[in-house]
């Protein structure tokens, strides 16, 4: 078992004919994902990597119903494509694009809430259930299947940490990137709750960063979890008032500091790694303690 996606998940790629869309479609197919269609207005009828292209989501859904879609279109077009996917009946929508306007993101989230769609992103690497399905842009090679769930706010840092897990022989059930934007679809809690309910996830790694209070809110939920949670947070040395790459990664008005997050997580029983390479050891310890390793 994994969360959200597995080997049966049927996927559409919106913006499949762009450079990114084409490349990552091939990578997703290589990882085992069931990409059943691509959307590219005006290019319906063409084929990319063996995947049929449709002009609209509705046209694609008539041909074959998909549960998930991934968006690779430029930021200006994201809102329209996201609305199209949500209205078209997609239930898991991954928005890779960064620089989506804040108000567009809020509109997307409101519409998704109304239609009960889970949004991953914007500005995410996506999500993967290794050896089963990948919807996103992460390198296939660093993931192996297993029982550790990973949920992260940032991309490459997750790769760093997942690589270590993989090198240490610790496989992953599902790895989810929430996205680095100011407003993203899923919260840590949304994903932690699914990991908690997933019978084959035995521990969870949370990769956070400064800014906002997502980690603090997650801590409240973690207190109710039966599974061990290990965390690593980036931005310990970041000065206040500077936006560190991610729109949300900024210490404002004294809020969202590294210390505030660490205190909250530790109070919830989370093992917080102070250096990235400590994560795999902490995961191992937690699994041993739980008798799962």
């Amino acid at each position: 078992m994994t969360i959200m996606i597995n080997e049966t998940t049927k996927i559409l790629v919106q913006g499949i004919t762009g450079k990114q869309g084409q490349f990552h479609t091939s990578q997703m197919l290589a990882s085992g994902s069931k990409v059943i269609g691509g959307i590219s207005p005006g290019k319906g009828g063409q084929v990319v990597h063996g995947v049929p292209i449709y002009n609209t989501v509705e046209e694609a859904m008539v041909a074959e119903k998909a549960e998930a879609s991934v968006i690779f279109v430029p930021a200006k077009q994201v809102k329209n494509c996201a609305f199209e996917a949500i209205d078209g009946g997609i239930k898991i929508l991954v928005i890779i694009t960064e620089h989506v306007p804040l108000h567009d993101a809020m509109e997307i989230m409101a519409f998704a809430e109304m239609k009960q769609v889970q949004i991953i992103g914007p500005n995410t690497f996506g999500l993967i259930s290794p050896s089963k399905s990948k919807i996103g842009i992460m390198p296939n090679s660093i993931f192996i299947p297993g029982s550790v769930g990973v949920v992260a706010r940032s991309g490459t840092l997750s790769y760093e940490i997942v690589s270590q897990l993989t090198n240490a022989g610790i496989g992953q059930s599902t790895v989810v990137g929430l996205g680095g934007d100011r407003v993203v679809g899923l919260s840590f809690i949304d994903v932690l709750a699914q990991f908690e309910a997933d019978p084959e996830t035995n521990a969870v790694v949370l990769v956070g960063e400064i800014g906002g209070n997502a980690e603090e809110e997650a801590s409240i939920f973690i207190k109710t979890m039966s599974k061990p949670v290990i965390a690593f947070l980036a931005g310990k040395s970041a000065p206040p008032g500077k936006r560190m790459g991610h729109a949300g990664a900024i210490i404002e008005r004294g809020k969202g500091t590294y210390d505030s997050k660490v205190v909250a997580l530790k109070a919830a029983g989370v093992s917080v790694a102070s250096l990235p390479w400590e994560v795999s050891e902490l995961v191992k310890k937690a699994l041993i303690k739980k008798g799962e390793a």
Binding site: K76, P101, I137, S154, T156, E160, V184, M244, G245, W277
Partner: protein, 372 residues
């Protein structure tokens, strides 16, 4: 992007929110005539930093002569390290009451958020939580009159003033939506001569949506030249004040790299997220930017996902061959096409690490050896 007070107020005025009578000046000339017309004034330096009042950026004058002098004074000042180029000369108000009103967003709830308080005029961080009225807004529905009315009730307002403040809220929300604002703040929203009006105005609009209103809002530059160049290349760059120039790919890993440099006893010169999937040219340009800030050493930390390690290696070699790099350069390279990248670097006499701790330890050691 932050807007100057006078710009925010112009937008307020154009959208029906009352503001005090005022005019912007770049020099003291003309202040005399203006003040002769409108009487006692407040003279407010137009800078983007907060805490302007405390720093002496606002002065009052009761006649044209005094106003001219104080305008000259302010225009000769450096406030919080920023030169005052512009002043806003405004009718002085007889304030009966100061409120606080802002619309921003709640990232966790994914919704617009209105914050109001009857205790305005001070920094909102200093207002007790129980004096704040917070209300999430459904972006599909928008702020509706009934909600504005309910907020004014919670603020303890009644009668005509309640109606005026509710009306300002509705208009402020329209501005918030129209200009893709991240934050609009009126602090204080005053009652003066029995009328509600915006005595101050802060507005931050969303850079990512700038294309939608760039015709209406003049661009304000807050960035240094290096940050501007980086922005033009689509690179996320923040200038810091340490020793080691850093390039990594991904905001999280870049932050973690800075943390490690600190952990190992040095400090970063910058935050630079060169992004995923950048071209060789973009990577080379990013490197050139880094060198331009004259760091004591360079650390490049690449986890190749979309980014291919061989492309990164080629960019590094290209820059090294075109520029005489005078500082030590430490490279950490793993991920997609890692072998090819490492081999390429080795061919050109550049050593690279696979483990991030080794890379950071080494670059810090270089800096310390140099400093010693």
């Amino acid at each position: 992007m932050k807007l100057y007070e006078y710009m925010a107020k112009e937008i307020f005025r154009n959208n029906g929110i009352p503001v005090p009578q005022g005019r912007v000046f770049t020099n003291a000339k003309g202040v005399r005539d203006f003040v002769a017309q409108i009487g006692p004034v407040a003279i407010k330096s137009q800078i983007l930093s907060g805490g302007r009042g405390k720093a002496g950026g606002i002065k009052f004058a009761s006649d044209p002569q005094e106003a001219t002098e104080k305008a000259r004074e302010l225009l000769a000042t450096d406030l919080k390290g920023l030169k005052v180029d512009l002043i806003l000369v405004e009718q002085k108000l007889t304030i009966e009451k100061e409120l606080y009103l802002a619309i921003t967003y709640d990232g966790a709830r994914r919704k617009p958020l209105l914050i109001a308080s009857a205790a305005g005029g001070v920094e909102i961080e200093q207002v007790a939580e129980e004096l704040l009225v917070k209300r999430l807004i459904d972006i599909n529905i928008g702020l509706q009159p009934y909600a504005a009315r309910e907020i004014t009730r919670q603020l303890g307002l009644t009668g005509q003033i309640a109606k005026e403040v509710a009306d300002i809220m509705l208009k402020l929300y329209q501005i918030y939506r129209k200009y893709d604002a991240e934050l609009i703040e009126i602090n204080p929203l005053v009652i003066a001569d029995s009328q509600a009006l915006a005595a101050d105005g802060k507005m931050t609009v969303d850079d990512d949506a700038a294309y939608r209103f760039e015709k209406d809002v003049p661009l304000v530059e807050e960035k240094t030249t290096v940050e501007q160049r980086a922005a033009e290349l689509g690179i996320s760059y923040v200038e810091l004040d340490g020793e080691i120039g850093v390039m990594a790919n991904g905001a999280g890993i870049t932050m973690a790299t800075l943390d490690l440099i600190n952990e190992f006893g040095s400090s970063p010169r910058n935050f630079m997220d060169a992004g995923g999937g950048s071209s060789r040219e973009a990577t080379a340009s990013a490197l050139e930017i880094l060198l331009s800030t004259q760091p004591k050493a360079l650390l490049i930390n690449i986890f190749g996902g979309i980014t291919r390690c061989d492309e990164v290696a080629k960019a590094i070699i290209q820059v090294k061959e075109s520029i005489d790099i005078q500082v030590p350069m430490v490279i950490r390279l793993v991920g997609t096409n890692e072998e090819a990248g490492i081999a390429l670097l080795r061919e050109h006499g550049i050593e690279s690490y696979r483990k991030i701790d080794e890379a950071v330890a080494n670059v810090v050691a270089f800096v310390k050896a140099k400093g010693a």
